[in-house]
Structure formats: C-alpha cells, structure tokens
Subunit: 335 residues, 2 copies
C-alpha cells in the first residue's frame, strides 16, 4: 500500500526546504552573496529583499521607501582592539605633541604619549572627549578631511598589519551591493564621527557623504582672507549612539528604515525604531563569534558590548549572524 | 568695395548671439525650461549644465558631485504676506486655543487669537519662538507630520485663494526636473522647519525627505506602551539660516554644492560657500520684481530681505532672475 503519510512528510519537508532556499539562487541567477554560507541567515536576507521588491506581491515597498541603515564599527568594519577612530586620535595627539610641551605632564595626553593604556582607561569618558577635541577640532573641515585621508593611507592595524580600510567585512560589502542593486538606498548610522567617515566611505562602501549619519562637533562659518571656510569647534554637536540613533535617522534621513544592521547594544534603539514600522522589516545583528579570523566578544566586552540587543533579537526573531558559522570569508582578499 | 569692417561686426554679433543661445535649443531638442524667457539668465543655466555634464569637456563634473541646493521660501514657493509656516503656526494656535484658556490674556497668544498683527510684531523673535514651540512641539514626529498634511489639505492662501502648495514657482519646478535629468541631486536648504517641509516636498518638488536640510527642534526617543516614538521637544536644535546654511550643508550633505539657488540675504553664505569651490559654479538669485503676478520686494522687506546678496551677486557676476522679465509664468496652471 502506498504510504501517503510518508509522502506528505516528504512533501512538507521539501516545501519547507524550498521556502528556505533563497529565491535568487532557485532561478539559476548568480549568487549575490557568495561569501554568505547557505542557511537561515542568508535566506532571511534574500527572502526579505525578494518580498519587498516583488511588485506583484502583497508586501511590495516602492524604491523611494527602501531605506537601509548600517552601523559602522563592528558591523561594516572591525572595532578591535578599540574603535579605529580612537587609534586615529592617539596617532594625531602624538603628531601634535611637539607643539604642546604641556601634554608631557597633563592627563589624558601624558597617557597617550607614554602608551599607558591603564591611565588612559582611568581618564574615562571625559578624558576621551578631551582627546577627541584636541585631535578633531581647531582646523577647517577641508583640513580635517585631508588629515583623515593621509592617516588612512599610512596607518596599519596592529594585529593584521593592513590598512584599516582593508578590515571591512566582505559579506557586508556584498550585502550593500545587493541591496543597492535592488533599489535600496544604503545609509551609515554610526556612533563614529561623521567627518571621520565621509572621506573614505564612498570609495570603500559605495556610500556617498550625504548618506552618512554620525556623531559630530559643531562648526562655524568664517571668511578668512576672503575665502569662506568652516572651522571645527571643540564642542559636541550630536552623539549618534543608542537613543541618539533613531533621533539621527529622523533628523538626517526623515524616513524610517525598512532594514537595519548593527552589532551592539548601541544599535538597539535603531533596530527597535526600524522594527516598529509597518510592512516587512529586516533587523540583523552581526555577532562576533570568530576569534581566529576576527574576534569573539559580546556581553562582557567594553567595545561593542552586545547584551540587551541579543536578548531582544531572540525575543523578536531578528536575524543574528554567527560570523564563524555564516561567513565564508571575513575580509576582502589582500592584494 | 566690400565692407570687411561691417562683415566683421556682423560676425561678432552673430557669434555672441550664438554663444548666448542655450545649447539644448540649438540642437533642436525640446526646451527643458519652457517657462523661462530666452535671454542671458536662461542661457547661464543651460550653458552651466551643458558644460559640467559634457564628459569630453574640460570642466566635466561626475554625477556624484552634482549637488544643487535650493532655498525654499521665496525661491521655490512664495513667502508673502509672511512665511507660510508662520500662518500654519497661527492656525495651529487657534485650533489649540480651547485647551489653553490662559492664552486669552497671554502674549503673544492673545495677539494671534485677536488677529492683532501689531502686537504680534511687538512680541519680536522671542514671541515668534513661543508660538513655534507651542504649535510645533509636544507631539510625536508622526503626529506632527499628519498635522502638517491636514493643514495643507485645507488651508488657503489669503490673496490667491489656493492651497499653499499651489504657490510654487513653475519655472523652478522645471529647473529642478532639468537638473535631475542631468544627473544632479537636488536638495532643499531652508530656514524653514525640516519637519514642516518633509511631508509634502517629495510630491510637490520631487525632493525626498533625506534631501531636505532645515531648521529643527530637538526630539527624544521613547517607548510608549511598547511602541517606540520620537517626541518633539520645545527646544531649538538647529537654525538653518545665514551662516547656518553652509554649516547645515556640511553637516547633512557633507559635500559642497556646485549650484545654489536663493532669494534673500539669508542665502548669502550658502551662495558664498558654493562659489568658493573649484570648477564651474552656478549661483542664482530669484529677485522678486513682479507685484502684479506675485510680489515686488528686496532691500526694505522684512520677509525675504535682499540687500547684501544683491550687491555680492552684482560684484561676482552671479545670475539674478528678474521674475517679471525672465519668467513667462509664475505658478503652475490651476486645475
């Protein structure tokens, strides 16, 4: 007698399997995300994009509303041993030290000049702010942009001995391209400095300066010797982190994302704000689980702590990338 | 004897005439700016666009750098008898008055409720700020967007008896389209409220919310009954006027425009900032000279005062539109 029950089970399994296979691959087109291993994470991305771009579907989203926001540190590029922008500030303090003999005895500058990481940690947030102001303010916007560009051209990451802009995630580069190919507008929404990112993110990520949201200091318009300039002031303008992220998204973009990508508790409110919209949404967290190829850290980390957002992700079924399991490759191939 | 001197003069005149004729019209293509009269103003626009988009030319600008910034009040739509946003605030105060019996005796609210324009003027900038905070803060961003949309759907301009969004300049709509057709990204950079503009500028000007820079109040992220919201606070965040315009351009766009369009001294610094870049630039001022079809005002006007910027325009050869002379039509045809 024919086993209808077994046939039913086989068909159900086959149906679920087909559902989980990315549609783009099913129709024989080239894989848009070759560095992502086949599995539920990759499927959740491709199925989301397929659904919102299907003009005949019930959850179609017009191109103008296809806004995707990406955290930068730890989501698009690495953030260890500390945020790369802090390493920039430290290098900058050292470069400026000859003009500031007083720094030899003054904290937090003394700690930087003596590579005393404990003393630097003791200086806390206030000390960090002093370093940022001393290294990021006092010049024109054009001068600062050039300083960042020059630094990136020469500085090397202490562990990988490669330029910092090499330490971007190959799977995320593919994801950015894939979203843009499907009519998405890709934005960075980072706690990092907006002017620290703008000089290089267009060539590295394909994200133009006008699609970068970040922390900033105030600037002032002046005419110097007949030439209009913007001078960077040692005063905080906006901190684009935690509850600041939805505020920044609203202020700079003015439209709620339908997809958001982060890796830490600093991204939680951005993910919540994104999730609260109508229509299908994609909320994705990059979980750093790969100590060999990158780093492994989450709940107990000072840099990029991932605790509450992981709980929320689990509760709401957000997509969590296990770097070690889901990514075939971490960084782009060297030259 | 053949008059070579006359021939030379005729050829010179013909040469200059050909130079001033817009190139697009010379090759028989349809006129992209049909509401603009032929003349040096129209020619300066078309010759600029032709030059920077000619990939074989010496002043070619790649599409990513084709940033054009437009003031809104008095440049894209009318601003008389007063800024339309102030009329919105007044209507809003009147609508809220039943919940605020104290306003009957409290300035500047009393002045608004009694239509006492002299008392309102006496309240000065501080009074204006009080009206703005009372009418623009205290609700979520989504609620405010809906309030603006509802107001625009029902309010009528006191002189023209048409919706305010009908009082946009037809020649500028054509200019926006023409620039976008030539790979420009068009931005609004206005002293008006960013959240007052975003609900309607996409459908009226074709400018998406993420390409709007404006003045703003602070917002705060909250979770109310499990739903994330952004609440509008009665606190100024940024004033996008005068020296604030280049600051806003740098902060929100992060790239210097190659074309800027304004109509008042509030736009002077934006025009200066634009003019100071390398490569060809287009700086254009709309001069309100048409009392019959719109309004005529400049140096002595409280709203949209045009004094210093006109002097600068003359000095540097910026393009000045004489509305009465240069525009065949002011507003789009009624329905």
């Amino acid at each position: 007698m024919f086993n209808y029950k077994l046939l039913g089970t086989v068909m159900l399994v086959a149906f679920l399997w087909v559902q989980s296979v990315p549609q783009v691959m099913a129709d024989g087109a080239p894989d848009p995300l070759p560095s992502w291993k086949t599995g539920p994470v990759k499927a959740s991305i491709i199925n989301f994009v397929s659904a919102v771009t299907d003009a005949t579907g019930t959850v179609y989203v017009p191109p103008a509303e296809r806004i995707a926001t990406f955290d930068n540190d730890g989501t698009l590029w690495s953030e260890r041993p500390v945020y790369f922008q802090l390493l920039f500030a430290i290098d900058r303090i050292k470069a400026l030290a000859p003009q500031h003999p007083e720094w030899k005895t003054q904290q937090p500058f003394k700690a930087v000049l003596e590579n005393d990481m404990d003393a630097l940690a003791d200086a806390g947030e206030k000390g960090l702010l002093q370093l940022v102001m001393a290294s990021h303010a006092g010049m024109t916007t054009a001068e600062f942009s050039q300083i960042v560009t020059d630094w990136l051209a020469s500085a090397q990451h202490p562990r990988f001995k490669r330029p910092y802009t090499d330490l971007v995630y190959q799977p995320m580069l593919e994801l950015l391209d894939y979203l843009r190919a499907n009519g998405f507008k890709t934005f960075i929404v980072s706690g990092g400095g907006i002017e620290f990112m703008r000089p290089w993110v267009e060539s590295v990520y394909g994200i133009p300066p006008e699609q970068v949201v970040g922390s900033s200091i105030k600037t002032q318009f002046e005419i110097r010797d007949g030439v209009p300039v913007l001078v960077r002031l040692p005063e905080v303008n906006f901190i684009d982190d935690k509850a600041g992220k939805p505020v920044g998204i609203n202020e700079y973009i003015g439209r709620r994302p339908i997809a958001a990508f982060g890796n830490s508790d600093g991204d939680l409110q951005m993910l919540q704000w994104t999730a609260a919209g109508d229509s299908p949404r994609l909320m994705l967290i990059v979980h750093h689980t790969d100590a060999d190829r990158e780093w492994a850290y989450d709940r107990d980390s000072h840099v990029g702590r991932l605790d509450k957002a992981l709980v929320e992700a689990d509760k709401h079924g957000w997509t969590v990338v296990d770097m070690e399991q889901d990514w075939k490759q971490i960084y782009p191939a060297g030259e």
